[in-house]
Amino acid sequence: MAHVTADSPSATEPLLKVRGLEKHFGPVQALYAVDLDLPAGQVTALCGDNGAGKSVLTKCISGVYLADHGQIFWEGQPVHIRNTRDAAHLGVETVYQDLALCDNLDIVQNMFLGRELLRRQLLDEDEMERQAAKTLAGLRVTTVRSIRQPVASLSGGQRQSVAVAKAVMWNSKLVIMDEPTAALGVVQTRQVLDLMKRLRDRGLAVMMISHNLTDVFEVADRIAVLYLGRMVIQDKASNFDRQSVVEYMTTGGMSRGGGQAAH
């Protein structure tokens, strides 16, 4: 099946390499020998129709599912990601589509949820607030009125920004974003896309799952397309146009024959 093209934009070893990943649920095979490269400092868009296996692949990387076969290399070294804690330990953070924020807690409390800083066994609110403010300022998320306001009072784009800030605060090196713009309006989508570019500029690897090809072409450096559990192509975004991506997504690129597909 598809192997990775040699002309990957950065000559160095990608941050995360997936090789021959397989996953099945009972009799249903969800992923067939999938290869994927996620280089640092680049946004990789993972495209595919419903049921193509995007979520399963994502969850295998973020430790929610355990892959049946195949290997994952992190900075060139083979690693076993058995659970989300392992993934977080490596520096993989996932921003889920539903964002996983607690509406009743404020921004700082959400960003540190489950990893609160303590001072003499009690919550160190001041230090958490300082670090949260620093992270948000670093991402230039400045539209919130107070970082002590409950998340319930934020707009969709602000909530997405908080979820991203939560992900990058832990020195993460790879941020996976599941449909980051699906629920957002025009202005808020712009905020989030800008945020993703800033993550890339800071040298992080970003993987974005999206149906929205406008957003994909706006922000992605690389595009990878899954079709029925198989990785049919991954290459520089500049080597695609909308038409070709749609075709890979819907037919697996079979009608085109050659092209950039690396069969």
Partner: protein, 442 residues
């Protein structure tokens, strides 16, 4: 507390709406700004403890005006009122653990009653004659075990807490009756009228008094301690460049705490006996304050408390954040039952023993009512321990005031029910207006 209605003429509707989203103390830099922000927030339906405080003041004023010879606000009746309310207050604080998780515990009345019977039985000189502290520890350990078992069933088997604790309600009603019949007391073990020092300690929990000098000193220590914590916390935030509430507001808070402390001790030190001398702060006040302080610290300043609020707000987010939901839920139900045990031991102290007259079902309903009236949400994720104190005081005041008026018990129940309905309506309305402000919310 900033309550003066000062709608600033410069407030446009838009800025008012924007301000309403943010707790006033977060953005206000001056006292005036704080008041305006608070008013805007209340108008938007996020009223916090304001309704219950207003309700409490109104109830106190009305009953003082109409009570015969204006005895309602007399020193004797006020102390009595607090003692009557103490059981509701502590049970409401217990129920807060379940409510914050978005659960409910219907069993606390009888589980706590079992604990109280255990304590009362163990100190009986005629039988086991345990020291009072060992008896109380045994009672609370029993409650903790029961709460942990119920919490385990709820969290590991995924059965709704309503059903599990309904079963617990029935089971421990029966267990309580069995425990009552142990020993030679015909189901009525008493702690009043005995000479044993262990009996007397239990009996004094509610009405034993503290020497005036000691109570003044203790009050001063508590007030200065709280003032120092509030003030130094603000200073630390300001020094490190974080937004702190305006100093005038902090001073106001400290002054209110100091006045409350002085008033409580001064009223308690007035002789409230018709014959002889009965004066001093009853033990139950420091006991309730101790529970309030400990549980407030636990819920608002520890990782455990933060996890509880997270589970109440969004269990899935809490799970993904690595919080161990079953463990937190089990501990919370155990603490809920332990606190209920404290509440029912106070009840035994008030009654002077235990008997099968304990209305465990009514206790649960009043505990939930008190917590919700105080401002704790039935829907999980929102609520404070202090809400149970305020709600319990309001229910106790209504109960006491109508009793003084010689109203029948059925009318008292009707009024209490109406107050509960009003409180739940305020909760639901504030949720709705908060939800309408943001998209993607239920």
């Amino acid at each position: 507390m900033a309550t003066a209605p000062e709608p600033g003429p410069d407030l446009t509707a838009a800025t008012e709406a924007a301000r309403a989203e943010v707790p006033p103390e977060l953005v206000a830099q001056t006292f005036g700004e704080y008041v305006r922000a608070y008013v805007a927030r209340v108008r938007n339906g996020q009223s916090g403890v304001l309704p219950v405080v207003i309700g409490l003041v109104a109830v106190l004023v009305v009953f003082e005006v109409i009570s015969p010879n204006h005895v309602f606000l007399s020193a004797g009746n006020l102390v009595n009122l607090f003692q009557q309310s103490a059981v509701f207050i502590v049970l409401a604080m217990a129920e807060t653990f379940a409510l914050v998780l978005g659960e409910i515990d219907l069993s606390i009345g009888y589980v706590g009653a079992c604990g109280a019977v255990i304590a009362v039985q163990l100190v009986q000189p005629a039988t086991t004659n345990w020291p009072w502290w060992a008896a109380i520890l045994a009672a609370l350990a029993f409650c903790a075990a029961v709460g942990a078992i119920q919490g385990t069933i709820i969290s590991r088997l995924g059965i709704p807490s309503f059903i599990v604790t309904l079963a617990g309600f029935l089971i421990f009603n029966g267990v309580m009756l069995i425990l009552l019949l142990l020993g030679p007391f015909s189901g009525y073990p008493l702690i009043s009228g005995g000479n044993s020092p262990n009996l007397q300690v239990l009996f004094n929990l509610m009405s034993g008094t503290i020497d005036p000098t000691v109570s003044w000193i203790a009050m001063a220590v508590i007030v200065f301690g709280l003032a120092a914590i509030l003030w130094s916390g603000d200073q630390r935030r300001r020094r490190s460049g974080l937004v702190a509430p305006p100093p005038s507001l902090t001073v106001l808070k400290i002054v209110v705490i100091a006045i409350a402390g002085i008033v409580v001790v001064a009223i308690s030190d007035i002789n409230r006996a018709n014959f002889g001398v009965l004066a001093g702060v009853p033990w139950v006040i420091p006991i309730v304050l101790g529970v309030l302080g400990a549980w407030t610290l636990l819920l608002e300043r520890t990782k455990f408390g933060r996890s509880m609020y997270a589970i109440g707000g969004n269990p899935e987010a809490a799970r993904r954040a690595g919080i161990n939901l079953p463990v937190i839920r089990t501990i919370a139900f155990a603490l809920c039952s332990v606190t209920a045990g404290i509440g029912l031991i106070l009840y035994a102290s008030y009654i002077g023993g235990m008997s099968n007259n304990v209305q465990g079902g009514q206790f649960v309903l009043f505990a939930v009512a008190a917590a919700v009236i105080g401002g704790t949400s039935l829907f999980g994720g929102r609520g404070k321990v202090i809400h149970g104190v305020l709600g319990g005081l309001l229910i106790g005041a209504i109960d006491n005031g109508m009793y003084l008026q010689n109203y029948d018990v059925q009318r008292i129940d009707i009024v209490t029910g109406l107050v509960l309905l009003a409180a739940v309506s305020i909760d639901a309305l504030s949720r709705r207006s908060a939800a309408s402000g943001t998209a993607n919310r239920v």
